[in-house]
């Protein structure tokens, strides 16, 4: 028993060292405190988060573990990066972004006075992945057609300019900037500008990147999204076999304010406008098999593709700033 404990101690010491080398925060590797009932799920997310810091508006996603990892919800006044690996995942990736936009626009203000959502799409993405379709947006995310404004930009500079202007304005509940690939122009400076604008105006700015590799950006939160098999359609007689239920997403939090990462499978409830988290046991069967969002059962989520995706280059500077602001 004692030897086991010592071995564990050693492992944690090593992990802390690794964390130091990788430049990420050691808390994410800390020994989780046993939480009531859901230890299995919590072990990856570290300590339960403290009460939300006053003054930082947050939107709860409805998924308790994701909320905990995010620090009690999605930041309403920040740049949030949502990345998808492939263009063909555009349905899931943009769907997740819209779900966040719906959450942000719904919190605080009433449904009637909800402000419009601005969708800035680069022309090549709109032709490759399709235009937003208003009836579907209303059906899944409650976004009324008159509350949607689409800007088609031919060049990235134009898109960035429009996003900056829109974020500065504050008359949109959320601004979505959608593009493809890893353009060199979308660097730390550009994303930092976007983030500052969003923070000043107090509006959410969602950077949706399709067919992209995670690269360093100034966004305090990065979510990697890929599609997940949807749950079965619920009927009175139980789940209907071979049916397609509500939208589902496999989400990996690869950068967050709290410094914690994790993978989640979320179902979107289009009636309540909230996410639901799936049980890990089911998650293992349903998540796609390429290991991206798979629960490996390890204490620390295994990194994939060689390294943990893009650690903050300045050693968690954005994170530190958020903290300062919060306190």
């Amino acid at each position: 028993m004692a030897r086991m404990a010592m071995a564990k101690e050693q492992i944690f010491a090593l992990r802390r060292q690794i964390a130091k080398i990788e430049g990420s925060l050691p808390e994410r590797f800390a020994v989780p405190e046993a939480a009531s009932g859901c230890e299995a799920a919590l072990r990856r997310y570290g300590r339960p988060e403290k009460a939300p810091a006053a003054g930082v508006p947050l939107s709860e996603t409805g998924a308790p573990h994701l909320d905990a990892a995010l620090g009690n919800g999605i930041l309403q006044t920040a740049l949030t990066e949502i990345t998808g690996r492939e263009t063909r995942d555009s349905g899931a990736v943009s769907g997740f972004a819209l779900a966040l936009a719906a959450l942000v626009s719904r919190s605080g203000e009433g449904r009637e006075t909800a402000r419009p959502v601005l969708w800035i799409g680069l022309a090549d993405m709109l032709s490759e992945g399709g235009f937003p379709y208003a009836p579907g947006l209303e059906q899944f995310f409650g976004l009324a057609p008159e509350k949607l404004l689409l800007v088609r930009a031919n060049r990235l500079e134009d898109g960035l300019w429009a996003a900056e202007e829109a974020a500065r304005l504050g008359s949109f509940s959320a601004t979505i900037l959608e593009l493809r690939g890893n353009p060199a122009k979308l660097d730390l400076t550009a994303t930092r500008r976007l983030h500052l604008r969003a923070r000043e105006a107090g509006r959410a700015l969602l950077l949706v990147r399709h067919s992209a590799e995670p690269v360093p950006t100034a966004a305090p939160t990065r979510l990697l999204v890929s599609p997940a098999a949807s749950p079965l359609r619920e009927t009175l007689a139980g789940p209907l076999p071979r049916s397609i239920g509500p939208p589902a997403f496999a989400v990996t939090l690869s950068k967050s304010r709290t410094g914690r990462n994790g993978s989640f499978v979320l179902d979107w409830n289009p009636h309540d406008f909230a996410f639901q988290e799936r049980w890990p046991s089911r998650e293992r069967q349903l998540v796609r098999k390429n290991g991206r969002a798979q629960d490996s059962g390890d204490l620390v989520a295994a990194s994939f593709n060689g390294s943990d995706s893009a650690p903050a280059p300045w050693g968690g500077l954005a994170h530190g700033q958020e903290r300062k602001r919060a306190s």
Binding site: G91, R115, P116, F131, P135, P145, L150, G170, P227, R288
Partner: protein, 493 residues
Amino acid sequence: MGRNESAPADFPPLVISQRENNALRIAALNEQAELLGLKPGMGIADARAMYPGIEVMEADPDADRQLLESLADWCDRFTPLVALDGRDGLFLDISGCSHLFGGEDAMLAEIIRRLTQQGFDIRAALASTPGMAWASARHSHSRDRNVPAGQEEQTLAPMPLAALRLEEKTRTGLERVGLRYVGALIDAPRAPLARRFGRMLVTRLDQALGVVEEAISPRLPVSPLSAERQLAEPIGTTEEIERLILILARTLKPDLERRGEGARRLLLSLFRVDGVVARIVVGTSRPLREPTTIAKLLYERLAALEGSLDPGYGFDMVRLSIAVAAPFEMEQTDLAEGTSIAEEEFSLLADRIRARLGEEAVLVPALAESHLPERRARFVSSGKEIARPTRTSQPMAGGRPIRLLEKPEPVEASAEVPEGPPLSFRWRRALYRVARAEGPERIAPEWWREEKPGQTRDYFRVEDMDGRRYWLYREGLYGEQTAPRWFLHGFFP
């Protein structure tokens, strides 16, 4: 106003050739060639035989036309009413403009001076009617002529018939009967003249004398309001232009207020020193009056043009016109003041984005009563005044995707049973295995709308092994002449 490019004295004799009736003839020539005794209309072969040293160039009517148009643009600085006249003339309607240049004579002198400086050999005349001005510009002996009102008859009488802008046939007919000067026509009885030579002759005469009103057709629509600045020192930088825009917009504001209007379309004309005119048009989604707002919109357009706007040696005149004005609605502020402010901000942003990214950059969804997905909702430019169709009562039958491809993309699909959902499909060269499928939802073509309606579509929602959800449809029915084809139309979250 005549036009003839003159060359410096040390240039060789130059003639411009033009093909007329299968023979090359001289269309125009420079002073040196004129001194040699050559004349327009002479055969090129003859001219070459006489003077082998002359240089011959072929006429380029398109380039001439372009030059004339750019000259007309330049003349915009004198009056907004500029019309082209034939191949080599311009009409300027200067009613109400001459006082800005110190009177009619001073204005005429200024026009001649500035065009001569640019290297044009011009003839100009000023008169009460376009016909009279045309006649004295082309057929009077002096290069500048201001025909005072009331003296049209005396001035016109000694001129040849060509001064009346007559057709060749009419003119030769008149000359054959011995009428060579306009004076002979003025006193002649009119009815026989009209009967023999057509109504046009009498009309032309009346137009020149001012008995009949003649309107010139300006090239550009006239703006209801405009303000301009002439600059002693040409400006070139964007900042200077922006400062001027703000000043001009401030000048326009009281006029707009008096008329109870706001600008819906703004036109900024930048007159370059060397005669090139750049025009910048910006549309607005609601009538604007505030100088700062107007200036902001134009800044965006200027910023977008930054590479392509060439200031050259600088702009010496800037004019801001309100091309389209609309009644300005005085806004009653209500208790929920915030919403109107937000809306104003909103439309201003849309205008600015349009100004910078182009008219078709800002789109809003428009709904229509239709079952066809692409017709049910599409994106239209938000700048257009469209009655936005409100929510329709149509019940949503099946699930609808959140992204719809502009054009459905063909896929190769294989199905277990002919009418059933696909088992697998190939899209953009990748194979997808269908894990689950829901459908079909049959959408029939709208035969009442189109001549040739499309085919019946059976839509399926399918989920592949990786959890991606697609909207596929099979077009056509089995048993028909053409085999059904599969398409991918949209994506679900």
